[in-house]
Symmetry: C2
Subunit: 520 residues, 2 copies
Amino acid sequence: MSSQQPRYVKMHDNDNVVIIANNGGLPAGTVLDNGIELREAIPQGHKVALTDLAAGDIVRRYNVVIGYAKTDLPKGSWLNEHRLDMPAPPELDNLPIATEKTTLDPLEGYTFEGFRNPDGSVGTRNILAISTSVQCVSGVVAHAVERIRAELLPKYPNVDNVISLEHIYGCGVAIQAPDAVIPIRTLRNIARNPNFGGRTLVVSLGCEKLQADVFFPDRFIPIKNGGFQRQDENIALVTLQDEENIGFEGMIQSIMRAAEEHLIVLNKRVRTTCPISDLVIGVQCGGSDAFSGVSANPVVGYATDLFVRAGASVMFSEVTEVRDGIAQLTARAASPEVAQQLIDQMRWYDQYLGRGSADRSANTSPGNKRGGLSNIVEKAMGSIVKSGSTPIQGVVPPGERCTTRGLNFSATPASDFVCGTLQLAAGMTMHVFTTGRGTPYSLKEAPVVKVATRSDLARRWHDLMDINAGRVVDGDATIEEMGWEMFRYMIDVASGRKQTCAESLKIYNSLALFNPAPIT
Amino acid sequence: MSSQQPRYVKMHDNDNVVIIANNGGLPAGTVLDNGIELREAIPQGHKVALTDLAAGDIVRRYNVVIGYAKTDLPKGSWLNEHRLDMPAPPELDNLPIATEKTTLDPLEGYTFEGFRNPDGSVGTRNILAISTSVQCVSGVVAHAVERIRAELLPKYPNVDNVISLEHIYGCGVAIQAPDAVIPIRTLRNIARNPNFGGRTLVVSLGCEKLQADVFFPDRFIPIKNGGFQRQDENIALVTLQDEENIGFEGMIQSIMRAAEEHLIVLNKRVRTTCPISDLVIGVQCGGSDAFSGVSANPVVGYATDLFVRAGASVMFSEVTEVRDGIAQLTARAASPEVAQQLIDQMRWYDQYLGRGSADRSANTSPGNKRGGLSNIVEKAMGSIVKSGSTPIQGVVPPGERCTTRGLNFSATPASDFVCGTLQLAAGMTMHVFTTGRGTPYSLKEAPVVKVATRSDLARRWHDLMDINAGRVVDGDATIEEMGWEMFRYMIDVASGRKQTCAESLKIYNSLALFNPAPIT
Ligand SMILES: [Ca+2]
Ligand SMILES: [Ca+2]
Ligand SMILES: [Ca+2]
Ligand SMILES: [Ca+2]
Ligand SMILES: [Ca+2]
């Protein structure tokens, strides 16, 4: 399709706007094939009015009210964030509850090659993870990881990597404050991520508030020494303040000794054929533009449906990006209980934002707006698309594990690295990340499949983007075709047959804990 | 002095407790030379009652009420956190205001060799710093730093290091929330730290909320490109989403090109003789025990007085650790205005903790208590000692720069890495850190001088502790002698004649931003 021919995308018959698809946008005077003449130049991804709007008139996209015209705007006008008033946030009562039940046929015949763990969970990678109970020790742990990579890892070829689960949690967090439970359970559950084979090593200082028996209460994960009785050897604890650690080299040696014990065990892990239902997938978007909701997110939504039909657990997230679509979500809840959990999480988040004198409108970024997303309502509609069309079977509070198969809402901030961190805590073994403006964000704890919304980005960032959903905008592929392509690619990645772009380049962002509690 | 001979420390004549100084503590039945017989074994650093206490009686240390006896406690009893009730926090009105003016003679004849910057500030190190406006880019920046260190740094021998100012700030922070100003100005002011020679490199993504003109408003630091007009070349901005960056290697090359421009300039920096008044020192304590307030902190307090007398800026910090001593601080304020600023910062912090259902008592850690500190009141009295005895000339709100010479209170959380991060933003070029339990914490942005409270720790962590203040407890040195020793050592470190232990070992903790604003 020529780049000269005017192209645009309409999401729903009832919409009174379309977005311009051409790379570089279209000049004033261009006439679309629906007869609309552009009254001004309109950038790619931005909206044009299909009808004459009077001040206060509804602007509708995705068959949803995304705003009201601020002034009179004749058809062909550019509708950007300055020309729209945002609707009020939807109330959290009188919502439709579990009214919509989309039933899709089970999808059979697909498997992947994964690392099955003693607890039944299955990893997509075989990683030695070193966690810490307090940030104080992280400078020492960074040295230990380098030494382990250089001196030990080559001896254990079945182990993919050695990583530190670095974070800035420390005694500053008011540990008794009600919300402190969130960062603590996040750290605890990340240590249990299936990609680590149940063999995470914990380095502690000794005097910190997050003592071993608080980090892992009730021998949640048996701890080898320190704090309480050794049960088995699943998790080793190295405490830097222990008397036997003489100087820096003593600390490094203690960590390396414990690491090697774990490497010996991890090296014996082998991939076996597993049903798709053993996959735990987290999806999110970041650096979004107006094509996120048109190309990449619908492609992810299609793949989400495929994985759910095949029995996998798939989480979508980002509370402030779905808040405006709460009525759609409660309607899609598999049960009234699930709907109530959705409402509870939204209410908690409303209150959390309110305490800090913020609201959901704080979500949209300048890049979102330059990319054509006028406000959070429009962004939300494009974001929810990632969840596909199946009923929501479970809700995962921030930092908790996902324990329900099928589609889950994991209630996290939209912030890319905070969301990714919480999805790892939920047990995610593969991450899908769509981006329109482009972000090189990635994780070292699980493979991250990057999906570009536009071909221009996919071309420019040729070695950073795994999948180019821009082909949908270009008319070169359908959402269905690309959804299947993504499904097959992700199975290859999960099975270790393929590495993601970010894995090849070893691009790793650090964890970012969600800590709503105060710091002392 | 033999380890058999019972030793103890009394802080003030009016105290009705002493702490046991012997390594390993003392057994029941030991008779001190003041005639007190221990009724039970008492660990090192823990308190013993000098008088018979009835339930409710005052327990006094540092001539301050640190608590009330929970039950009847005969003399010779162990007074630990389970046997004391904590006093109520002092009110913030009716405080003594600027009533106490300690005048110390100026100290002349001392200089150091520092790197003077165009803006008049002076660094103790010559570091190329790479900051980021959003966490998304940090995985790429980590690669760039490795490449710059390996390929460029060897060509510029006058540059000490290349570092990334990594952090987890991102679009998630509700940028319009009132408290979001704190992490933003922290990042801005860290980029201006004198150790970076006014030549910080900023890597941005492009679509983030913290755009260049928000990060550096009013061309606060002139930005080379992107966002607004180039003024000069002090700060270069590399934007990963810029069209010219093709793929990962394109991003790396852009960062390396900008880095080399800066390295050329930084390599020309030379040390010149500077007055001590060009030093900006931050002091804090972490992993404290009962000896922190007996040995290391008084030694630091003595050195603080020496530096203040010589004209330097010295900051003490840690709001929750001085909150119980507010009356001492307002009395020491150099003016009613400074006293009011102290009160304002304490009030803001009280409210901040209250919003999260926490209070100052959340500060003390299990290690503090095992080390003999029963509660935050006792810890506070030992913490304030670091500030020496001179009037408080200035108050630095969190994230702001210190602009006043002499003793300053920089209002930060007590959390070690959060405090260190904020002191760097305040312009700190040398950090002093006392520890009793022991922490390997350090920074890469400025040298960190570590001071052990006990000889046992200094021996065990022989290559991690710069100064052993335990010699004061052992009776081998006076506070005055050790204060002078520290003063001279710090001048050597500031001048680059000596490296700290942590610099030699390259132990670096990451920055930890103080973000009281919510995350979307
Ligand atoms: Ca998103
Ligand atoms: Ca985002
Ligand atoms: Ca996101
Ligand atoms: Ca402290
Ligand atoms: Ca501290």
